[in-house]
């Protein structure tokens, strides 16, 4: 059995491209669960009194690469009590399994028609989007807490408020598509498949971090996820280049290249727009317009705040970035546009961040607390989805509560890991300078310090 597990684990390492070998059975299962499309084989709706534990039903993941963390707890539950499932006070059959919602019409630029005005949502999808958004929210708030305790240091740019963007995009594209973003990247690192604990451990600078503690907040990577980039705007030509590779290789994949309203004025964006349009690269240029570039509002930074039109000769769509369904439909539309060979497209997501630019910015010197409060109460993406589902009888209040509790626990455990995992060993200081190279000597701080570097 152990042999077989080793074989499978090695195969998975190759698939994932991660250099991590499963050391224990539970770690292997974590890897496995990332790749196995676990659908919940809901047995016959169980009656409350027959169950020993209360748990919400486990819906299938958004994509086959659902974040491992949320599947872990379910997986161990399955091991504990195989066969027992679903346990809420109302049976599964009571809920509406699918509903159609009206979504806001998008402003379009150089397009005959935009994304559809209606979005279908299944109960399973809804719960999944809720789960992922709530996980990102809680993870970011945990990072806030750890930063204030000085356990996280340096830069920390938090994503809470913008969850619908990351989740909506991931719901619309395939795991085999590509994504690159700027420094507000923790949410995308999660949706692109990295476990919470690896993200938090990277923030706390430990060896279990996704970049082994060498990257930090702004430099986390995953298969088909190119970070995490610290230089404002630099990720956009990179994204266009990734799209070029997709076109070159003829693999029908697209690249989503994200930037903010601050980066939208960078020259290299326009250089990228030009080449992407010229060569019809399958690139979805996406402006996450959260109204403020650090402390500067969009009106004070941009001569034109119609970011979806800034691609000029490139078609554009302006989307309500607080509505996960709106985002999803827009990206389905955009991905189809790119895949059909029409070239690039620009999407502007109107969204909002609750935190300041980074942890060193209180976020209230250039905007009012009332404004923040208003967005929270009227447009919070997680609340909006929850209310939609509740009012359409797609889920129960208890279910959401259970999910919240489970996520809180998960994030807490991840934080535990992130604070207790040891720091990277000093022997590895100089490693990873070059790929696939013979070991080399690296000069240390003084001439007698000859350090070793391996690939």
């Amino acid at each position: 059995m152990k042999n077989m597990l080793t074989i499978i684990s090695n195969a998975l390492c190759r698939i994932t491209g991660r250099n991590v070998g499963a050391q224990t059975v539970s770690e292997l299962l974590i890897d496995l669960s990332e790749y196995v499309n676990v659908t919940s084989p809901v047995s016959a709706p169980a009656l409350a009194q027959a169950q020993a534990q209360r748990q919400p039903p486990k819906p299938p993941p958004v994509s086959t690469r659902a974040p491992a963390a949320q599947l872990v707890s379910a997986q161990t539950d399955q091991l504990d009590t195989p066969g027992t499932r679903v346990v809420v006070s109302r049976s599964f059959a009571d809920f509406t399994s699918q509903a159609t919602f009206d979504i806001k019409k998008c402003d379009v630029h150089r397009l005959e028609e935009g994304p559809p005005l209606k979005a279908e949502l299944t109960r399973d999808q809804g719960l999944q989007y809720y789960r992922v958004m709530q996980t990102v929210r809680r993870m970011e708030l945990k990072a806030d807490q750890l930063y204030k305790q000085k356990i996280i240091r340096g830069f920390c740019h938090l994503y809470d408020g913008q969850e619908a963007c990351a989740v909506g995009i991931e719901a619309a594209i395939n795991p085999s598509d590509h994504l690159i973003t700027a420094y507000r990247a923790h949410g995308y690192t999660y949706t692109r498949g990295i476990a919470i604990k690896e993200i938090l451990a990277e923030l706390t600078g430990r060896r279990g971090g996704v970049a082994k503690g060498k990257g930090g907040s702004m430099h986390m990577y995953a298969p088909h996820f190119y970070g995490g980039n610290g230089i404002v705007g630099a990720q956009i030509p990179l994204g266009a280049g990734i799209a070029l590779a997709c076109q070159y290789q003829g693999n029908n994949q697209v690249c989503v290249a994200l930037y903010g309203d601050g980066a939208a004025n960078q020259g290299q964006l326009f250089e990228s727009f030009n080449m992407a349009a010229l060569w019809k690269l399958p690139c979805i240029f996406t402006c996450e317009n959260n109204q403020y570039g650090m402390g500067t509002s969009v009106e004070r930074a941009s001569a034109s705040t119609d970011y979806y039109k800034r691609g000029d000769f490139i078609p554009g769509i302006r989307v309500d970035g607080m509505d996960v369904l709106c985002v999803r439909e827009a990206f389905k539309f955009a991905a189809e546009h790119c895949r059909s060979g029409k070239g690039p497209i620009v999407i502007e997501l109107k969204t909002y961040r609750y935190h300041g630019h980074s942890m060193s910015d209180p976020g209230v010197s250039y905007r009012t607390r009332e404004e923040i409060q208003e967005v929270r109460s009227k447009s919070d993406p997680i609340t909006m989805l929850k209310e939609r589902m509740l009012s359409n009888n797609m889920a129960s209040v208890e279910e959401f509560k259970e999910i919240d509790i489970a996520i809180r626990k998960e994030v807490e455990e991840a934080a535990q890991y992130a604070t207790s995992d040891p720091e990277p060993p000093l022997e590895e200081l100089c490693n990873h300078i070059f790929s696939n190279d013979s070991p080399l000597d690296v000069r240390g701080t003084n001439p007698w310090a000859r350090l070793k570097s391996v690939s």
């Binding site: 060498k214 970070g227 990873h432 696939n436 001439p447």
Partner: protein
């Protein structure tokens, strides 16, 4: 320059055919002569053919056959997909090249001259060089940035800067500076096959210079390892360490000095980073004297680094005199010929410095 050409053409040999050795012939086999630009062209052609992930992008590389004709014929042979003309947007296309490398291709990004690479330097350093480290070995960037570096002839200040020192400063980059045609071919092939970002510094004045190509170098699998210097001329009295065009100057100076009984060992660095310190140390421990020669500015340059490294290593105890640097003059490059000629190391400067170092 004519002098260096004479130095390297072996008189009386048939320069056109490449024949194998024949046991019954007493003379050495005929060698092929090739200009540096053709060697570069051949290197790219062979690598494009060998690996379909390799492609070339840059200004005028395709339909114009290359601003300096280095990519002549490649577009005709490989087409639009593999040889891409870009608009004049260095930051944009360098970034696109880096992104393509991250996503599995193996781009060659040409800068018309390295002066223009300054527009794109953030992509070279922050997006290419540092990424493998930041990602703890997850994301590699197999890319070559190539183009002419350093002074040309009469192109003035904004088009004459040498970037060897700037790029060689940065961990995560390999910086290569070939001198002759064989260097150009072997090192470019190695650079393209390398899984890391390589800055490949050519020299416009060397493009049209023909050199003999050894038989070995005519193979499609001929590569020269990055990180190893070559002793071009054995000597006993002084080590002349140089890279790119100034290797020719050193060899010419060596000929003149030999008439006065001074035997110079001439080292062609070939790679700036990682520097082959051991080769230099071995030489200095033999000759006890060191003179570095480069076209770049003196402050914080290649020669400065070599001197510091020699001081920190075993060779210091073998020096009979302080090491000397021969460099470009510490000014922006002027235009007028007389001024330009006197802004760069000349053979007489090398001879003068050697004699000063040897105290003769």
């Amino acid at each position: 320059m004519a002098a260096s050409v004479r130095c390297f053409l072996r008189s009386g040999k048939n320069a056109l055919s490449a024949l194998g050795r024949r046991g019954f012939h007493k003379s050495a086999p005929a060698a092929v002569q090739m200009m540096v630009r053709d060697a570069l062209n051949q290197a790219m052609d062979e690598e494009l053919e060998r690996d379909e992930r390799v492609f070339l992008l840059g200004e005028e590389v395709a339909q114009y056959d290359g601003a300096y004709k280095v990519s002549r014929g490649l577009w005709k042979k490989y087409g639009d997909k593999r040889i891409i003309d870009t608009p004049i947007t260095e930051m944009g296309f360098a970034g696109i090249a880096v992104g393509a490398a991250m996503a599995g291709l193996r781009p060659i990004c040409e800068f018309m001259t390295f002066n223009f690479s300054m527009q794109a330097i953030d992509q070279i350093i922050n997006s290419a060089a540092k990424t493998y480290y930041m990602s703890a070995g997850f994301q590699s960037v197999p890319i070559v940035f190539r183009g002419p570096n350093g002074a040309s002839a009469g192109v003035a200040a904004q088009h004459s800067q040498c970037f060897a020192a700037w790029y060689a400063h940065c961990p995560g980059l390999k910086v290569v500076s070939p001198w002759n045609a064989e260097d150009a071919k072997g090192l470019l092939k190695s650079a393209i096959r390398d899984d890391n970002p390589v800055v490949f510094l050519e020299n416009e004045l060397m493009y049209g210079v023909p050199f003999e190509m050894s038989e070995e170098s005519q193979s499609k699998d001929f590569t020269i390892p990055i990180g190893k210097a070559k002793v071009e001329r054995q000597g006993t009295h002084v080590s002349l360490v140089s890279h790119s065009r100034y290797v020719s100057h050193c060899l010419d100076a060596a000929v003149v000095l030999a008439k006065e009984g001074i035997e110079c060992e001439v080292i062609n660095l070939r790679t700036i980073r990682p520097l082959d310190v051991e080769c230099i140390e071995t030489s200095v421990m033999k000759t006890n004297h060191l003179v570095t020669v480069e076209g770049g500015w003196p402050q914080f340059g290649v020669g400065a680094e070599i001197c510091a490294r020699i001081m920190e290593g075993p060779a210091f105890n073998y020096l009979d005199a302080p090491a000397t640097r021969v460099t470009g003059v510490d000014i922006p490059m002027p235009y007028a010929k007389i001024l330009e000629d006197n802004s760069l190391p000349q053979i007489k400067d090398i001879i003068f410095s050697v004699k000063k170092t040897l105290n003769v």
